[in-house]
Protein backbone atom coordinates (compact mmCIF):
# COMPACT_ATOMS: atom_id res chain seq x y z
CA UNK A 1 0.00 0.00 0.00
CA UNK A 2 1.45 3.41 -0.93
CA UNK A 3 2.67 5.45 2.00
CA UNK A 4 3.05 2.53 4.37
CA UNK A 5 6.27 2.29 6.33
CA UNK A 6 8.37 -0.55 4.96
CA UNK A 7 11.67 -0.13 6.75
CA UNK A 8 13.43 1.85 9.51
CA UNK A 9 17.14 2.63 9.68
CA UNK A 10 19.23 3.49 12.72
CA UNK A 11 22.62 5.07 11.94
CA UNK A 12 25.49 4.90 14.40
CA UNK A 13 29.27 5.22 14.71
CA UNK A 14 29.76 1.99 16.65
CA UNK A 15 27.59 -0.62 14.92
CA UNK A 16 28.62 -3.56 17.14
CA UNK A 17 27.67 -1.64 20.26
CA UNK A 18 24.30 -0.61 18.83
CA UNK A 19 23.57 -4.17 17.66
CA UNK A 20 24.30 -5.42 21.17
CA UNK A 21 22.14 -2.68 22.70
CA UNK A 22 19.07 -3.14 20.52
CA UNK A 23 19.24 -6.94 20.52
CA UNK A 24 18.90 -6.90 24.31
CA UNK A 25 16.44 -4.02 24.63
CA UNK A 26 14.09 -4.98 21.78
CA UNK A 27 14.65 -8.72 21.49
CA UNK A 28 15.38 -8.21 17.77
CA UNK A 29 16.79 -10.89 15.54
CA UNK A 30 19.60 -9.39 13.44
CA UNK A 31 21.47 -10.63 10.38
CA UNK A 32 24.63 -9.11 8.98
CA UNK A 33 24.09 -7.87 5.41
CA UNK A 34 26.75 -5.27 4.61
CA UNK A 35 30.48 -5.23 5.43
CA UNK A 36 32.90 -8.05 6.21
CA UNK A 37 31.11 -11.37 6.69
CA UNK A 38 27.88 -9.96 5.29
CA UNK A 39 25.83 -11.03 2.32
CA UNK A 40 27.29 -11.03 -1.15
CA UNK A 41 26.63 -7.89 -3.17
CA UNK A 42 25.55 -5.81 -0.18
CA UNK A 43 28.61 -3.58 -0.21
CA UNK A 44 31.26 -2.41 2.23
CA UNK A 45 29.07 -0.40 4.57
CA UNK A 46 28.58 -2.26 7.83
CA UNK A 47 24.87 -2.99 7.97
CA UNK A 48 22.74 -5.35 10.02
CA UNK A 49 19.21 -6.25 8.98
CA UNK A 50 16.72 -6.09 11.85
CA UNK A 51 14.01 -8.73 11.70
CA UNK A 52 11.56 -8.06 14.55
CA UNK A 53 9.16 -10.80 13.47
CA UNK A 54 10.89 -13.68 11.64
CA UNK A 55 7.55 -15.53 11.25
CA UNK A 56 5.90 -12.80 9.20
CA UNK A 57 7.33 -12.09 5.74
CA UNK A 58 5.38 -8.85 5.53
CA UNK A 59 6.36 -7.42 8.93
CA UNK A 60 8.28 -4.14 8.82
CA UNK A 61 12.02 -4.70 9.02
CA UNK A 62 14.78 -2.32 9.93
CA UNK A 63 18.51 -1.88 9.87
CA UNK A 64 21.44 -0.72 11.96
CA UNK A 65 24.14 0.79 9.78
CA UNK A 66 27.41 2.67 9.92
CA UNK A 67 27.01 6.45 9.66
CA UNK A 68 28.20 7.88 6.35
CA UNK A 69 27.89 11.48 7.55
CA UNK A 70 28.29 12.77 11.13
CA UNK A 71 24.86 14.44 11.17
CA UNK A 72 23.06 11.29 10.02
CA UNK A 73 20.26 10.07 12.25
CA UNK A 74 17.65 7.40 11.75
CA UNK A 75 15.11 7.45 8.98
CA UNK A 76 12.03 5.61 7.86
CA UNK A 77 11.31 4.37 4.35
CA UNK A 78 7.78 4.51 2.94
CA UNK A 79 6.27 2.85 -0.12
CA UNK A 80 6.55 5.42 -2.93
CA UNK A 81 3.32 5.78 -4.87
CA UNK A 82 3.82 5.84 -8.64
CA UNK A 83 7.53 4.98 -8.51
CA UNK A 84 10.56 6.86 -7.21
CA UNK A 85 10.85 9.38 -10.05
CA UNK A 86 7.30 10.61 -9.39
CA UNK A 87 7.88 10.44 -5.62
CA UNK A 88 11.09 12.50 -5.81
CA UNK A 89 9.37 15.04 -8.06
CA UNK A 90 6.54 15.47 -5.56
CA UNK A 91 9.11 15.96 -2.78
CA UNK A 92 10.77 18.82 -4.71
CA UNK A 93 7.49 20.35 -5.89
CA UNK A 94 6.27 20.56 -2.30
CA UNK A 95 9.42 22.22 -0.92
CA UNK A 96 11.40 19.19 0.21
CA UNK A 97 14.87 18.12 -0.92
CA UNK A 98 16.06 14.89 -2.53
CA UNK A 99 19.37 14.06 -0.84
CA UNK A 100 20.05 10.85 -2.72
CA UNK A 101 18.39 9.94 -6.01
CA UNK A 102 17.25 6.40 -6.87
CA UNK A 103 19.66 3.70 -5.67
CA UNK A 104 19.28 -0.10 -5.85
CA UNK A 105 19.38 -2.69 -3.07
CA UNK A 106 20.18 -5.71 -5.25
CA UNK A 107 17.37 -8.26 -5.32
CA UNK A 108 15.09 -6.16 -3.13
CA UNK A 109 14.23 -2.78 -4.58
CA UNK A 110 15.05 0.88 -5.01
CA UNK A 111 15.23 3.76 -2.56
CA UNK A 112 15.76 7.49 -2.43
CA UNK A 113 16.62 9.67 0.57
CA UNK A 114 14.80 12.98 1.04
CA UNK A 115 14.20 15.76 3.54
CA UNK A 116 10.90 17.45 4.29
CA UNK A 117 10.67 21.28 4.33
CA UNK A 118 11.83 21.33 7.97
CA UNK A 119 14.85 19.12 7.41
CA UNK A 120 13.45 15.82 8.72
CA UNK A 121 14.90 12.92 6.73
CA UNK A 122 12.83 10.11 5.18
CA UNK A 123 13.16 7.65 2.34
CA UNK A 124 11.05 6.44 -0.57
CA UNK A 125 10.95 2.74 -1.41
CA UNK A 126 9.85 0.62 -4.37
CA UNK A 127 10.01 -3.17 -4.12
CA UNK A 128 11.70 -4.80 -7.15
CA UNK A 129 13.33 -8.26 -7.03
CA UNK A 130 15.16 -7.39 -10.27
CA UNK A 131 16.86 -4.29 -8.83
CA UNK A 132 20.64 -4.22 -9.25
Amino acid sequence: MPGEIVHFDISVDDVDKAVDFYKDVMGWKLEKYGGEGGREGMGEMVYWMVIPNPDDEKAVRGGIGQKQMPQQTGLNYYNAEGGLEAFNMRVKDKGGTVMMEKMPIPGMGWFSVCMDPEGNPFGGWVTDMEAK
Binding site: M1, P2, G3, E4, I5, F8, I10, S11, V12, D13, D14, K17, A18, D20, F21, Y22, D24, V25, M26, G27, W28, P52, N53, D55, D56, A59, V60, G62, T73, G74, L75, N76, Y78, E81, F87, R90, V91, D93, K94, G95, G96, D116, P117, E118, G119, N120, P121, F122
Partner: protein
Amino acid sequence: MPGEIYNFEIYADDVDKLVAFYGDVMGWRIQKYEGEGMMEEMQYMAVNPDPSKEEGVVWGGILKKSMPQQSTLNYYQAEGGLEAFNKRVIDKGGKVMMEKMAVPGFGWFSVCIDPENNPFAGWVDDKNAK
Protein backbone atom coordinates in the same frame (compact mmCIF):
# COMPACT_ATOMS: atom_id res chain seq x y z
CA MET B 1 5.08 -9.14 18.44
CA PRO B 2 7.83 -7.72 20.71
CA GLY B 3 10.20 -5.37 18.93
CA GLU B 4 7.83 -4.61 16.06
CA ILE B 5 7.28 -0.99 15.13
CA TYR B 6 3.95 0.29 16.39
CA ASN B 7 3.92 3.97 15.42
CA PHE B 8 6.15 6.64 13.89
CA GLU B 9 6.12 10.35 14.65
CA ILE B 10 7.42 13.32 12.70
CA TYR B 11 8.01 16.56 14.60
CA ALA B 12 7.34 19.98 13.08
CA ASP B 13 7.62 23.67 13.85
CA ASP B 14 4.81 24.27 11.37
CA VAL B 15 2.45 21.30 11.63
CA ASP B 16 0.09 22.47 8.85
CA LYS B 17 2.97 22.76 6.43
CA LEU B 18 4.24 19.23 7.06
CA VAL B 19 0.71 17.82 6.93
CA ALA B 20 0.30 19.37 3.47
CA PHE B 21 3.74 18.12 2.40
CA TYR B 22 3.35 14.50 3.53
CA GLY B 23 -0.29 14.33 2.42
CA ASP B 24 0.80 15.09 -1.14
CA VAL B 25 4.09 13.19 -1.22
CA MET B 26 2.92 10.02 0.52
CA GLY B 27 -0.78 10.02 -0.20
CA TRP B 28 -1.42 9.71 3.54
CA ARG B 29 -4.84 10.27 5.03
CA ILE B 30 -4.17 12.64 7.93
CA GLN B 31 -6.71 13.64 10.54
CA LYS B 32 -6.62 15.73 13.67
CA TYR B 33 -6.41 13.50 16.72
CA GLU B 34 -8.37 14.75 19.71
CA GLY B 35 -8.33 11.77 22.01
CA GLU B 36 -8.73 11.96 25.74
CA GLY B 37 -5.74 13.47 27.51
CA MET B 38 -4.30 14.88 24.28
CA MET B 39 -2.88 18.34 24.80
CA GLU B 40 -4.11 20.91 22.29
CA GLU B 41 -0.65 22.49 21.99
CA MET B 42 0.73 19.24 20.56
CA GLN B 43 -1.46 19.76 17.46
CA TYR B 44 -1.36 16.00 16.98
CA MET B 45 -2.31 14.87 13.47
CA ALA B 46 -2.84 11.12 13.06
CA VAL B 47 -1.47 9.49 9.93
CA ASN B 48 -3.28 6.44 8.56
CA PRO B 49 -1.37 5.11 5.56
CA ASP B 50 -4.02 2.50 4.72
CA PRO B 51 -7.62 3.53 5.57
CA SER B 52 -8.92 0.17 4.28
CA LYS B 53 -7.34 -1.64 7.21
CA GLU B 54 -8.12 -1.21 10.90
CA GLU B 55 -5.37 -3.55 12.03
CA GLY B 56 -2.04 -4.76 10.72
CA VAL B 57 -0.99 -1.32 9.50
CA VAL B 58 1.52 0.92 11.26
CA TRP B 59 0.07 4.36 11.98
CA GLY B 60 1.98 7.57 12.44
CA GLY B 61 1.66 11.11 13.65
CA ILE B 62 2.76 14.62 12.75
CA LEU B 63 2.97 16.92 15.74
CA LYS B 64 4.40 20.12 17.14
CA LYS B 65 7.98 20.07 18.42
CA SER B 66 8.38 20.59 22.15
CA MET B 67 12.19 20.71 21.86
CA PRO B 68 14.18 22.15 18.92
CA GLN B 69 16.23 18.99 18.29
CA GLN B 70 13.21 16.69 17.80
CA SER B 71 12.99 15.03 14.39
CA THR B 72 11.42 11.58 14.04
CA LEU B 73 10.60 8.98 16.67
CA ASN B 74 9.60 5.35 16.29
CA TYR B 75 7.66 3.39 18.89
CA TYR B 76 8.40 -0.33 19.28
CA GLN B 77 6.45 -3.02 21.15
CA ALA B 78 8.21 -3.38 24.51
CA GLU B 79 8.79 -6.99 25.50
CA GLY B 80 7.87 -7.75 29.11
CA GLY B 81 6.32 -4.36 29.82
CA LEU B 82 7.76 -0.87 30.04
CA GLU B 83 9.43 -1.20 33.44
CA ALA B 84 11.50 -4.12 32.16
CA PHE B 85 12.09 -2.36 28.85
CA ASN B 86 13.31 0.84 30.53
CA LYS B 87 15.54 -1.15 32.83
CA ARG B 88 17.17 -2.91 29.87
CA VAL B 89 17.73 0.47 28.21
CA ILE B 90 19.57 1.79 31.28
CA ASP B 91 21.50 -1.46 31.89
CA LYS B 92 22.79 -1.42 28.30
CA GLY B 93 24.05 2.18 28.35
CA GLY B 94 21.02 4.04 27.03
CA LYS B 95 18.87 6.59 28.84
CA VAL B 96 15.19 6.90 29.63
CA MET B 97 14.19 10.46 28.76
CA MET B 98 10.52 10.11 29.67
CA GLU B 99 9.21 7.45 32.04
CA LYS B 100 5.96 5.53 31.46
CA MET B 101 3.12 7.76 30.23
CA ALA B 102 -0.44 6.85 29.26
CA VAL B 103 -2.21 7.39 25.98
CA PRO B 104 -5.74 6.96 27.37
CA GLY B 105 -7.60 4.05 25.79
CA PHE B 106 -4.57 2.89 23.78
CA GLY B 107 -1.57 2.08 25.92
CA TRP B 108 1.62 3.20 27.56
CA PHE B 109 4.91 4.55 26.23
CA SER B 110 8.34 5.66 27.36
CA VAL B 111 10.89 7.72 25.41
CA CYS B 112 14.54 6.65 25.42
CA ILE B 113 17.87 7.27 23.70
CA ASP B 114 20.42 4.66 22.67
CA PRO B 115 24.13 4.98 23.65
CA GLU B 116 24.68 7.28 20.62
CA ASN B 117 21.73 9.52 21.51
CA ASN B 118 19.34 8.22 18.85
CA PRO B 119 15.79 8.52 20.18
CA PHE B 120 13.24 5.69 20.23
CA ALA B 121 10.21 4.76 22.30
CA GLY B 122 8.77 1.69 23.95
CA TRP B 123 5.08 0.85 23.64
CA VAL B 124 2.65 -1.46 25.46
CA ASP B 125 -0.97 -1.89 24.29
CA ASP B 126 -3.54 -1.39 27.04
CA LYS B 127 -7.11 -0.31 26.33
CA ASN B 128 -7.50 0.52 30.03
CA ALA B 129 -4.55 2.93 30.12
CA LYS B 130 -5.35 6.34 31.59
